[in-house]
């Protein structure tokens, strides 16, 4: 009997506590859920200052390396830009500004640059010197390092020869005159050289650190940079935390205390995490928004877009009929409706491309032809076919690599060509590396490709088509006059004259149409409104240096 009473009393007690617990919980939860009344009572400014300066983002995938000399992908590039500082850094105006270099002088022939290196420290406390730059550049050019982007240093005197093993590394035109002075000699006057310096292959690395541990760049403990942030922790494939670098020369302008990256590859999961408040940003530049979610997100007015220096184009194999004929190529290029593709399929504000070079570095703002110019296209096709001695176009094969987006675009264009030119187009889909190999070997009729600029200058796009067998040409097109113009532009130090030369070259490219431009890339993302100052450059790189939480 006693036992039963005890049980009853204790059950009531437990139940009571549980109930009060619930009640209390509900009460406590109520005000934040209501939200609105509490907020205005607090003065706005101190609250804003108190906001923890922590940005949570998804990096999408593991950065393959955080070594500026070896990086070749955008994820690594983003981490490197956050943890290193080049001689220059791209500012919010998209122009290069002095960073690790305090000032510079250019010789009259524009072939010699002398940089004064700023008083600054590495994240481990070592001083940043001119020797670090000299070492980093020569290291990247050393064939033993096997740096993918070594060719970015070919602008430096003897850079190409050293990389090919035809010259000694000592002969490369970069020299630390003393700890704070760096002298650089160039092969040609390169008007975009200051811009190039903001690219990772030109970043300094700390020789002592590399000598001590060749695997320094893969671990938070051994990673040393000279940028606005340093790596605090790196759990591979899972999480990376960057914190403000107290040794950074411009630390007063770095407001974020911490950036926490998750590494979730699935875009739908990323979006769910954003909507659940686990991350502050979803989509470009590190990842992408799921295509199916874009219309809804756009409807809610959440999607932001930013044009970047990239062109999506189709390449013609100019050696195989009927695309060995200029007029046929032009007819195909003129007869598609780019705006309709963008509005109905891509849906994220891409810009119809009527030239090869993207808007940020444009040479001819009016474009070289009209989008959806059916009349002209039909006429050109008729003339072209006569020239190659055909009465009717044979069936054409359009190739693309496996991807939902490429497939949709190809299907739409197939449909437009059928309707507008009456041509049968077969679609051919291949796995990425197989596709690339077939393209490089000329094993295609029309194939999709794209190019994202490495630096903000038209030459980056135009030089692709300079040589018939050039690694990225694929079209097998070559034009002597075009080649000559590009060679001329390299020697030209007058900016206006150079621009004219390049515009003439682009004109030739568009007159002969080995490639058919489709659209200029944009990036789309959604973000929490309190995140400010994340700078996305015209090349699609992201810089968190000036970012803050309001």
């Amino acid at each position: 009997m006693k036992k039963n009473v005890f049980a009853l009393v204790s059950s009531i007690a437990v139940l009571g506590t549980a109930l009060t617990g619930c009640g209390g919980g509900q009460q406590a939860a109520a005000p934040p859920a209501g939200g609105t009344p509490a907020a205005p009572s607090q003065p706005a400014t101190p609250a804003a200052e108190k906001k923890p300066q922590v940005l949570k983002m998804n990096l999408h995938s593991e950065p393959p390396t955080a070594d500026p000399g070896l990086a070749e992908d955008t994820t690594s590039g983003a981490i490197i830009l956050a943890t290193f500082d080049g001689l220059t850094r791209i500012g919010t105006d998209d122009k290069p500004h002095e960073a690790a270099a305090e000032s510079y002088k250019v010789s009259d022939d524009k072939l010699t640059y002398t940089f004064k290196i700023r008083e600054a420290k590495w994240s481990n406390g070592d001083p940043v010197t001119a020797h670090d730059f000299e070492y980093a550049w020569k290291r990247a050019l050393d064939p033993k390092t096997a740096s993918n982007y070594a060719y970015q240093l070919y602008y430096v005197k003897n850079g190409e020869k050293a990389n090919k093993g035809e010259a000694k590394l000592d002969e490369v035109g970069v020299k630390a005159l003393d700890d704070k002075t760096l002298e650089v000699k160039l092969e040609n006057p390169t008007p975009y050289f200051l811009e190039l310096l903001a690219f990772r292959t030109y970043f300094p690395v700390n020789k002592k650190v590399i000598d001590a541990n060749p695997k320094w760049a893969g671990d938070a403990k051994s990673h040393v940079g000279n940028g606005p942030f340093k790596i605090e922790s790196w759990e591979h494939k899972s999480k990376m935390v960057l914190v403000k670098n107290e040794n950074y020369w411009d630390k007063d302008n770095v407001k974020l205390e911490k950036i926490e990256f998750s590494m979730v590859e699935d875009e739908n999961t990323e979006l769910s995490m954003f909507e659940n408040g686990e991350i502050d940003w979803a989509g470009a530049p590190m990842s992408a928004l799921p295509t199916d979610a874009i219309p809804a997100l756009k409807g809610q007015g959440k999607v932001q877009t930013n044009p970047i220096a990239g062109t999506y184009w189709y390449k013609f194999n100019t050696e195989k009929p009927p695309f060995n004929n200029i007029k046929v190529r032009k007819a195909f290029a003129y007869s598609i409706n780019r705006q309709a593709l963008i509005d109905n399929i891509l849906q994220t504000g891409q810009i119809p491309a009527t030239g090869a070079i993207p808007p940020s570095m444009v040479l001819n703002p009016n474009g070289y032809f009209k989008d959806n110019d059916l009349e002209n296209a039909k006429k050109l096709l008729e003339e072209g076919l006569k020239e190659v001695g055909m009465s009717k176009l044979p069936s054409i094969t359009l190739s693309y690599n496996t991807s939902e987006a490429h497939k949709k675009i190809a299907e739409a264009i197939q449909d437009q060509w059928k309707k507008n030119l009456g041509v049968d187009v077969k679609l051919e889909n291949k796995e990425w590396k197989v596709y690339l190999e077939d393209m490089h070997e000329g094993n295609f009729q029309i194939g999709r490709m794209g190019w994202l600029g490495d630096f903000n200058d038209p030459i980056n796009f135009l030089e692709l088509f300079k040589d018939k067998m050039g690694g990225n040409n694929d079209t097998r097109w070559e034009n002597a006059k075009y080649k000559e113009l590009l060679n001329q532009s390299a020697k030209e130090s007058d900016l206006e004259k150079r621009k004219k030369i390049l515009a003439d070259a682009e004109q030739i490219l568009m007159d002969e149409m080995p490639i058919m431009p489709i659209y200029w890339y944009t990036q789309s993302w959604i973000q929490k409104p309190e995140v400010k100052g994340v700078h996305q450059t015209g090349l699609g790189d992201v810089d968190w240096k000036g970012a803050y939480i309001e």
């Binding site: 096997a146 093993g165 671990d219 659940n276 690339l436 077939d438």
Partner: protein, 310 residues
Amino acid sequence: MIRYLGKRIIFMLISLFLIVTATFFIMKAVPGGPFTSEKQVPPEIKAALEAKYKLNLPLHEQYFEYLKGVVTWDLGPSFTEKSSNVNDMINRGFPVSAHLGAQALLLAIFGGITLGVIAALNHNKWQDYSAMVIAVLGLSVPSFILASFYQYIFAINLGWFPIAKWEGFEYTILPSLALAASPMAFIARLTRSNMIEVMGQDYIKTAKAKGLHTVTITIKHAIRNALLPVVTYLGPLIAGILTGAFVIERIFGVPGLGREFVLSITNRDYTVIMGTTVFYSMILVVMILIVDIAYTLVDPRIKLSDAGKE
């Protein structure tokens, strides 16, 4: 027994050797290499890269180098992850995949057997039908849909678990459930059909006639015999589930090994393709051996000796 095991181990080594060889040559025969990319590098850089990763050697030398690597368990550097080598990748990814896999496996085995037994004992009653509906759903709904569904219900709507990432026990629950669904359903069906068959056999009828309790009959006599096919299925299942499930790992942002299997092939990351394949095969052959040993525990009629054949 020892003689049998010795023989089995020799066969295992031969199988591994054949797997390594076949993978190596098939991999080399596939078009495109690790340095084939949209932005082609100048030939001298490509040559430097090939020299660094010893791809400039004749094929047979690469093959022997590779065999040497496998024997010494030094699987070489990764082509895409410049700061890791394949051993690092396996050492990092396998414990995570194994943790997730072990949890999913326990769920699948216990859940599956329980469901199967309940269904068999209540043959053609509502318990049977409900258990089999669960099993059919588990088998037919693709894991990625199930995973998104869990995320939507348990993470977004109910807020019980985080959506993704891998930071503590609560992060492991949804992926384990999603990963366990299909094998659990399979085990449930397998157990059910075997149980039904076993329950109809004479010795069970005898036991019943002797007046033994249903629970005793089920546990002592029926389940044990019904599990034999399940044990057969467990070997490859354990190997598969422990070494990672690409889709589930991707959706839940789990830093496991499953990802490397798939991505290494798209990237033509030769060393990672080989390393993960060899690793997986090793686990697979060991698991198959363990399963064979497990037979003797489940069914005393099976003896691990081939004396009879000789």
